[in-house]
Symmetry: C2
Subunit: 325 residues, 2 copies
């Protein structure tokens, strides 16, 4: 009997649900804009309506519902704690609510961990057992697969590579996210422009410094603008230092880097790889290592949510995905 | 039938072997000084002689031989790569050599990982499933248990917390080990004395700056010497930042800190805990967290080597230790 999995992507801007088959092939998808401003009840009602739409006629075929959500959340209890981009969500027992509605096992995971599972199951890290996934957009999130299993930690809070403390000049503590995420790239560019540095970025935003974002910087860098190139190089360097930490702590076989900022390509990846080579303790950590862009696009959260359900919340080994049902 | 485990501690200064019962209780121990200067063959001959001494009459009772060794090493192949404090050891296939001599399963692990297993099995972290172990002595090593299993990574090189890049002053990158291990504490003290800072340390070494080590600094700090106290506080602060990284990446329930430098007690632990509180992303990472000194003394490597064999090289869950045979 063919089995089905229901996947939900609760994002800050989009709400999506999909049905997958047991090989994690997407069969049906529904999506809408998340009306976060209307509060959790409205969003959960919509989520339930979407789940019903993608549900097969025979619920007995469904092995579970996987949900990708912004953190912080507790994957053991399925409680969404207080995501910054879901205003009004405070200790929402999402797993309990969905379980009581559909009488199916529900697994909730934070979006970066779920994306790591997705890339390891169907993406750039398929077939790998030791995977570090990084996403660089408005923030920096990460997820880790160690020996085939998702690393969650005691309360599901692992692995927050974006927030590790890096000390800079004079003892000030910063983090990779504060130095290399999209807003940091834009801020660095803005500060230099205010200091009088010449750059094509100024023309791209018609002189409006507030309109600068990482996308604009990326566009200017692609045309060879030296300030924009330097801003991306700084971000790449800092992400590279974060990757060094990830290599030392997890000794993975692959680093997958996703998120909007990675659309800048080699302008980000080249300085990133350089920083890794320059600062790694020993070449044993980088021998045979692959540092690659994420392979899954917008569906990464849905694929990951399906993989989360298939691995029973990441507790089963990803190698079992092929013969799990 | 009662089972036995043979444990070997190949240290830079001591070579030890012991027999444990299936409850990881030490039954017999032999030890000698490691004559590293005589090369690997001599040391391995002595190791084999010691293993014979602690071996029970009936080898059928022995489930395996666990060996704690300085890294870098490959636990999958049992090859000792090139430990700085074992001169002459270069790609020594220790596991194969011992296996062919005794026809028993042999498991080799790096000393910090093995110590983590020991503290999780019989020490300060007994009963815990998410453990980070740090040892602070002439270097800083670490080992991690995630959801009951030793984190080794692709080639057994995880988890090197001491070497993560954490401080960048004017672009220079340093590490926790370079800032907080014993030699760093001594160096910091020496530099201050050379700059004319008054301190009781100078009397303790009778004016010989080269005689300063972390032990001397600890002794002066215990008497309230302000320079010595500051040197330990700086080390504690940097280790605290490393612990923040470990909390963010592994979300453990306990941090166990061992090694000679921790004999300085609260002079190191208080600034360490302060740094953790000051720099952690969210109190969810520290709620209920325990930061504790290691509980096992000199036998930590032997207990860990026995646990390594009992868990088949760390591949089995530590919770199975109670009913593993």
């Amino acid at each position: 009997m063919a089995k089905a999995i229901i996947a939900v992507d609760l994002g800050g801007t989009q709400l999506r649900a999909a049905r997958f088959d047991q090989d994690l092939t997407l069969l049906q998808r529904e999506s809408t804009l998340t009306r976060a401003d209307l509060g959790p009840k409205h969003t959960i009602d919509e989520m339930q309506a979407f789940i019903r739409k993608v549900m097969p006629c025979d619920r007995g075929d469904v092995v579970g519902i996987g949900i990708s959500s912004p953190g912080p959340l507790n994957p053991a209890t399925g409680v969404i704690i207080a995501p910054p981009n879901l205003p009004g969500w405070r200790n929402v027992p999402l797993s309990d609510i969905i379980t009581s509605e559909f009488a199916l096992p529900v697994y909730v995971g934070n979006d970066a961990n779920v994306a790591a599972l997705a890339e390891a199951s169907k993406g750039a890290a398929q077939g790998c057992r030791h995977v570090v996934y990084l996403t660089v957009s408005t923030g920096i999130g990460s997820g880790v697969i160690s020996d085939g299993k998702l690393v969650t930690g005691r309360a599901g809070l692992a692995a927050e590579l974006g927030h590790i403390p890096i000390l800079i000049d004079g003892g000030e503590v910063t983090s990779i996210e504060l130095e290399a995420a999209g807003p940091a790239i834009a801020r660095r560019c803005r500060v230099q422009l205010e200091a009088g540095v010449k750059s094509a970025v100024l023309e791209l935003v018609a002189g409006d410094l507030h309109a600068i974002d990482a996308k604009v910087v990326g566009a200017a860098a692609a045309r060879g603008d030296s300030l924009a190139v330097e801003c991306l190089a700084h971000a790449g360097h800092m992400i590279g230092l974060g990757i060094v930490t990830a290599l030392l702590l997890y000794n993975p076989e692959i680093i997958v880097v996703g998120g909007g900022v990675t659309k800048t390509g080699e302008l980000l990846f080249a300085p990133m790889r350089q920083a890794v080579q320059a600062h790694i303790l020993d070449s044993a950590f980088t021998d045979g290592l692959r540092i690659e862009p994420a392979a899954l696009g917008d569906d990464v959260a849905l694929v990951g949510a399906a993989a989360l359900a298939a691995t029973k919340g990441g507790r089963r080994d990803i190698s079992e995905l092929d013969h799990i049902f």
